[in-house]
Structure formats: C-alpha cells, structure tokens
C-alpha cells in the first residue's frame, strides 16, 4: 500500500461537508500558513517539495510561483485550472467532487503565497454539478471564516470565484483560459508575455491545475522536505492517475510514483489486470495527447529496464521509445482494439477542438482526420501514411499553443510504433473491415543489444 496524501480521507462519509472535513484535520495548513509563515516561506517550501505541475507539462510549481511579477499597486491573481478536458483524464473531477474542501484549502494557502485576493476556479462547462459542490464548499468555508476579509486575523483577504467554461478543450491552455475568463473568445495568447507578467486583465497571474493546488495542503502540513522524500528522483510526492480503458478496475488511483507500470496494470490494488482475460496491446499513459506505446515498450524501456509510473521513467527514451506522464490519464487498449481507429478518434477530437487561430493546427488537424478516416475505412493508400507523418511534422512546434503538438504526437507515435497495422489497413483493406489486426508482435520482448 503506497502513501496517500490527497485521497487518504476520500472514503470517509460526509467528507464533502465542512464539519467532517474540519474534524478530520482539514484547514490545518491554512492555520499554519497564515499564522506562522510568510508568503516567501510558503513559496520556498513548495520549491523544496519539488512539486511538479500536475496538469500535463510537469513544470515545477514552486518555480512558476517565483516567476510572478510583483509590481506595486497591481493586483495579482491565482487561477485554478479545472478545465479538465483531456480524453482519459478525470482525476480533477474526482478530487473536486469528493474533496472540494481540499482544493479550497490549497487555494487559500496558494493565494496567500502569491498575494491573490481574488482567486478563480475555471471549471469546464460539462462539470455543471461540481460547480454546485464547489460553491457550497466555498460558502461553508466563508461562513467559518476561512475566506473573506482578514482571514484568521492575518490581514489577508481572499475570495474564490467559480467560473464555468462553455465546453472547449482549448480553454485548458492557460492563456486561452485567461481569455475565456475575461469573457472573450478562448483563443490562446501569443507568448511572451507570460501570464506571470501579464495574465488575467493584464495583471500578473499564476494558473495551476487542481491537483497541483490540492498538493500544496500536504506540503504545508508535512513540510516540503518530507514531501520530497516521497516518490523517486525528480518525481516527488504522489500523483493521481485516472485509469480507464480495457481494465478490470477503472478509476482514480493515488500512487507515490515508485510503482512499476506492470504492477499498476496487473495488481489488484490498482487496475486489476486487463478485462475479460485479454492481452495488453497498447497504452496511452498520460492522457490522449501523449504518445501511445505498444505493450513491450510500455512495460520495459528500450534498454530493457522496468518502466515505472513517474515522470522520468515514462519519458525514458524520448519520443522514439518513450512517452510522457502528462496529466495522468492512463488509457489501456487490449488486443481487440484497432490502433488506426483509435488514432482516427483522437484526430477527430483535435480537429473539433482546434481553435482555428493559427493555420498549421486549423488546417492540419482536419487533413489528418480525413486521411485517417480514409485509412480506417480501407480506402487509403500507402502514401497516406507518409503524408500523415509529414503533416504531423509540419504542425508540431509551429503553432501558437501546445494543442498543435498534442494533435501531432498521437498520430506520430501511432505510425512510429504501429506502422505495420496501418499498412495492413491498406494491403488488406477488405479484411480490415471485418476483423482487427490483433496483438501481432506488439508484446514481444524487445531485443536489447548487449554492449561490451
């Protein structure tokens, strides 16, 4: 049983209410932070903890906080990014639904550290019922003196506002989120300037993921050094993984990042193995936009070492043989799944969600979708595969925001690792309509060259 910091009390009945949450030791971190720590000390503590952004990019949170500009007389803002729209990721929903006070507690501490008197939670529009949960929790916290003016006589004022998005994936990108929060069309801004300098209403802003902000609570409670001892290397603390796909026990799991991928998939504590006794074919380990990996590369790295569920190990081998931790949306595909169809589905998603602002993403995503549909329907040509590769190459890195990369990576990885399945869809077009390519050699052990 691994360490649990966030979901430890999630099973307690009534933990959603203030009374139970407080009784279970909630809001201790606010007391500690506001009464005995300076904002600088909190930032320092978060830096020491090595906490990395849980939204996908994995940027050190303490570092991000220290970048915020502090011009005289200009308000600063903290924005909580709850626009969790990555297919396969639902950890923030779980956290907010069952432990709304944990997020609010983390928000108060982080707001104090950053000097944000008006803090916003930007939540995706589809999470309509969670808005009510959060607002109830905010009102409870306010009634008990944790929010509002002069919290705990520290002279610090803080209010939290919940804002619903209108259902756009792109609004999870921090600058698009800020635009949307300002009431504009959710187009990503061109950086620089970064939000830390000019964000919400041109004021210094920090945008953090729900899980990142919730993780501030245990960091303050146990101290940054203690937090850094959990986990391994630069992957400190615990991470929520939302496991889904063809597994026996889909759900949100908290891991301390020392678990191997194999253990995570097959142990009864976590996913409980592949459903219906099937075999593992492939996995998208960090939400739909990270590269897909075949079974053999998922369980072992190209060097033949065991792969673990942490930032470094999952990205071992770069994009050639590795993937990314991403946002922790762990999607398992069994032997009956068709990679071409899966890639098409993702391409369709990114085409639909592209904001249309910059040309490579706007035009390229639609083109890739059409090509993949043609391949999936058995009407493709061999040259389509190379064309897809060329299109993704020309999108990646040439766009304003990471959505272009996110659209390009799944296509690139699918072709890189599953090219023979794509080719089979061309050479055996008729057959591809009636049956799947199956597991083929994707779980075969990889030959590791021995060096003297």
């Amino acid at each position: 049983m691994g360490v649990k910091l966030l979901l430890e009390k999630a099973h307690i009945p009534g933990i959603r209410t203030y009374e139970v949450y407080r009784r279970e030791g909630g809001y201790r971190s606010v007391e500690k932070a506001l009464q005995s720590m300076t904002p600088e000390a909190i930032v320092e503590e978060v830096k020491k903890s090595g906490l990395r952004g849980r939204g996908g990019a994995g940027f050190p949170a303490g570092m991000k906080w220290s970048f915020i500009a502090k011009p005289e007389g200009v308000p600063r803002h903290l924005v909580c990014n709850a626009d969790e729209s990555e297919p396969g990721t639902f950890k923030d929903r779980y956290l907010m639904e069952f432990l709304p006070h944990l997020l609010i507690e983390g928000l108060i501490v982080a707001s104090f550290a950053l000097g944000s008197n008006n803090t916003y939670i930007y939540i995706r529009g589809e999470y309509a019922w969670i808005v009510d949960i959060l607002e109830t929790a905010i009102n409870e916290a306010k009634a008990n003196g944790w929010l509002g003016e002069n919290i705990l006589n520290s002279g610090f004022d803080c209010n939290i506002h919940v804002q619903r998005g209108a259902g756009a994936y792109i609004c999870g990108e921090e600058t698009a989120l800020i635009e949307s929060l300002e009431g504009k069309r959710g187009n990503p801004r061109i950086k620089p300037p970064f939000p830390a300098i000019k964000g919400l209403w041109q004021r210094p802003t920090v945008v953090n993921n729900v899980e990142t902000l919730a993780a501030v609570v245990p960091i303050i409670n146990i101290g940054g050094d203690e937090y850094a001892k959990i986990g391994v290397g630069r992957s400190t603390g615990t991470k929520l993984i939302s496991a889904c796909g063809n597994i026996n026990k889909p759900g949100v799991y908290e891991i301390d990042m020392t678990v191997s991928v194999e253990e995570f998939i097959y142990s009864d504590e976590y996913c409980g193995g592949i459903a219906n006794g099937k075999r593992l074919k492939a996995c998208i380990p960090g939400g739909s936009s990270v590269p897909i990996l075949p079974a053999n590369l998922l369980l072992k790295t190209a060097k033949g070492e065991t792969r673990y569920m942490n930032y470094e190990s999952l990205s071992d081998g770069g994009f050639a043989t590795g993937s990314m931790m991403g946002s922790g949306g762990f999607i398992i595909l069994d032997e009956d799944q068709c990679i071409v169809k899966n890639t098409y589905t993702l391409a369709r998603f990114y085409r639909h969600e592209s904001c249309g602002q910059c040309s490579p993403c706007r035009e390229g995503t639609g083109w890739m979708e059409k090509l993949l549909l043609r391949l999936e329907k058995g009407e493709g040509k061999m040259s389509d595969i190379d064309l897809l590769w060329d299109i993704q190459r020309k999108i990646e890195g040439n766009t304003i925001c990471p959505l272009g990369d996110a659209a390009a990576w799944p296509v690139a990885a699918a072709i890189r690792h599953f090219r023979d399945e794509f080719e089979w869809h061309v050479t055996h077009a008729q057959e591809a309509q009636t049956r799947n390519f199956g597991l083929a050699h994707y779980a075969d052990p990889i030959h590791v060259p021995v060096t003297a």
Binding site: R185, T365, G366
Partner: protein, 366 residues
C-alpha cells in the same frame, strides 16, 4: 530615456541596428528584399495582430549577446522583439523553408483557388505567397470547405470560402469603429468571420476591412467583377473629406474611376498621412465618390514593378515617333469606318463603372 537604445541584430548574415522593441519582422523589412519574411496576418497598423498565420516563422540561432542560446522552436518574427546581438536565420535556414512550405500548403488547403474569378487576383498576398514559397501542386485529395456568400451591408461582400482567418478585419473593426459588430464564430477549420446579429455593418470606416483583407474574402461590392486590377491605372488623389484624410488611390480605366482604395505601401499596408496617422479612408470616399471630378489627382501611383499591376506601366519610356504624317506629306489619316456604326458591341456610351454588377451582353443589348 533621452536616447533611444539601439540593438544590433543579424538577419541572414546582414547586421543592422534597430531601436529596442522592434520586432524581428520589422527589422527584416527595413533590410527589405528576400530577407523580409512573408506575413499574412501581421499588420503593423493594427494592435495585437500577427502570430496566427505562421508564415513569418524564423529560426533564432542566437538569442542575444547576454544569453546566446538558440531558441528551441521557430518563432513568429512578427511577434518576437529583437534582443541585442540576436542572430536570425530566415531564408538561410532549411528548417524555416521547410516549415514555411508546410504553412503555405496548409493555407491553400481549403482555399478555393478561384483566382480567375476573384477580384483580389493581382494584389492577393496569398497568390504572392503561393508563388514565392509554395509547391506547384497540393497533396490534398478531399473536398474543400465552403461557405455561402454574405453581404455585410450594402457595400461589402464576405466570401468566407476564401478566408484564411488572419483576424485583420476583426482587429480593424475593433480598433477603428466604436462598436464591434463582427468577429469569429465557431472554431477550427469551420471557424468563420461573421456578424453577430444581422448582416449589416454600419460604420463610416468599416470599408477599411476590404483593404486589410490579404485575400479576396472581403470585397468591394461597387467594384465586384468590374475589372481586373492590372487593367486599371492607379492614381494618387485626394479630396477635402470631413470624416477622413481623403488621401486615396484611384483605380481608373480611361477617365472612369472604377475603385477607390487607401494608399498602400510595398508591404500592402495602408500608408501614414503626413501628420503621422494611419491613412484609413471613410466609406463615402471609398464607395460614393466615383467620378474623376470628385478628386484632385496628384499623379500616377508607383506600384512595385514586380507586381502584375505594373505590367505595361513603363517609367521613362521613349515612344517611337509617329511616321504616318510624314509619309502622307502632312495629311491626317482618314477614318474609313467607325466600328460602332456597324456593330453594337462595346457601346462607347455605356460607362462600365456605373453599371450594377459585371458587364454582360444584357448591358449592351438595351
């Protein structure tokens, strides 16, 4: 600051000094020629424009004197400011050329390529871009996206099918007019420029969206299908206008004024007036003053000689001497037959600029 700080920047091995805060694109334009990256969405007169089309991507091989690390990705030169000692590669970088060819292909993907019937042909930035940086064919084998044509008020037609979503018209409407009435609806490759409520734009300056449009998506309804721009003679002219500067370019054929536009510089941007303001023109000047007598003509407008508009316009041309009089011992040649007595084609009394729509046989058969 008393003295403006100057930064040294090297673009394609040409070093120049520019004031701090200049963008890489503007610095490259001050060198000119092939060094200047193409720009489809950036418009220096519009605040916040640029960064979207990605045609002006350049490679920064050295960040600055202080921090010589190269930038990891290609950057949009229109939105990147120069640093002291920065080294930029534009046409000397294979990466940039490759990425740019990709962007051109993307931009042309859903473009209808209806240049033969498009009023923008001849002064279209996308044509230039495709000609200079594109490939001869496309690899796109699917149906292109199409939209219905819309009238934005009585003077402007929106043909979204041709639009490359540069957002210039949105910025123009936002910054020039008091109440922005149009913007971008929907997203991705089905995003479209549209009016929010009704298809009417009432504003004295809304006609400028036609001038900023790099393609033929927004066209002048008083000029549609009247003439090809390269058959017209651009003339600088002005009038005493109470609303705008009144400094325009007239596009004449003979004495007929076919079209009035603002004066554009070599980058296709509207020139500044002598008092330093951008020379936007009002709708009255643009759409309603279509008589030569409305204008004080200053002289021919110099259009870049590489432009198709300049074909047949020769500067300093020496005409050969007419010899017919000499041969006929000083007598004038006699007109034997006036074609208009025989045929009704091209009635000289019909003013082409005054008819509504394109000139067809019905115009002459009346």
């Amino acid at each position: 600051m008393s003295e403006q700080q100057l930064f040294k920047v090297t673009i394609d091995n040409i070093t120049i000094e520019v004031p701090a805060g200049t963008t890489v694109l503007q610095a490259a334009r001050s060198i000119g020629g092939d060094v200047a990256p193409p720009a489809m969405c950036f418009y220096s007169k519009l605040e916040g424009s640029g960064g979207k089309c990605r045609t002006c991507l350049v490679e920064v091989s050295k960040g600055s004197e202080k921090d010589p690390r190269p930038m990891p990705k290609l950057v949009a030169s229109c939105r990147t400011t120069v640093m002291d000692g920065m080294e930029v590669k534009n046409i000397t970088s294979p990466k940039v050329k490759d990425a740019r060819a990709g962007v051109v292909e993307f931009l042309l993907l859903n473009h209808p390529l209806d240049c033969p019937i498009c009023d923008q042909a001849g002064e279209c930035h996308l044509q230039d871009l495709g000609y200079e940086h594109g490939k001869e064919g496309t690899r796109y084998e699917f149906q292109r996206r199409t939209f219905k044509k819309y009238d934005l008020g009585q003077y402007i037609q929106l043909h979204m099918t041709r639009c490359i979503l540069c957002y210039r018209c949105v910025f123009t409407a936002d910054q020039l007019t008091e109440k922005r009435e149009h913007g971008v609806l929907d997203r991705g490759d089905h995003a479209q420029i549209a009016t929010f409520i009704e298809k009417n734009l009432h504003n004295d300056f809304i006609g400028n969206v036609i001038d900023v449009c790099p393609v033929g998506a927004l066209t002048d309804k008083t000029f549609r299908f009247k003439n090809r721009v390269w058959f017209l003679k651009p003339l600088d002219a002005h009038r005493d206008c109470p609303t705008c500067s009144g400094r325009v370019t007239l596009w004449n054929r003979g004495d007929e004024v076919f079209r009035v536009t603002a004066r554009k510089d070599e980058w296709g941007e509207i020139e500044d007036t002598p008092d330093g303001k951008t020379g936007w023109i009002c709708n009255t000047c643009r759409f309603e003053k279509k008589k030569t007598s409305d204008w004080m003509i200053e002289g021919p407008r110099n259009v870049n000689r590489h432009s198709v508009i300049s074909q047949g316009h020769y500067v300093g041309l020496q005409k050969p001497q007419e010899t017919i009089e000499k041969v006929l011992d000083g007598r004038q040649p006699k007109l034997l037959m006036d074609i208009h007595n025989i045929s009704d084609v091209n009635k000289p009394s019909v003013e082409l600029s005054a008819i509504n729509g394109a000139a067809t046989s019905s115009v002459f058969n009346k």
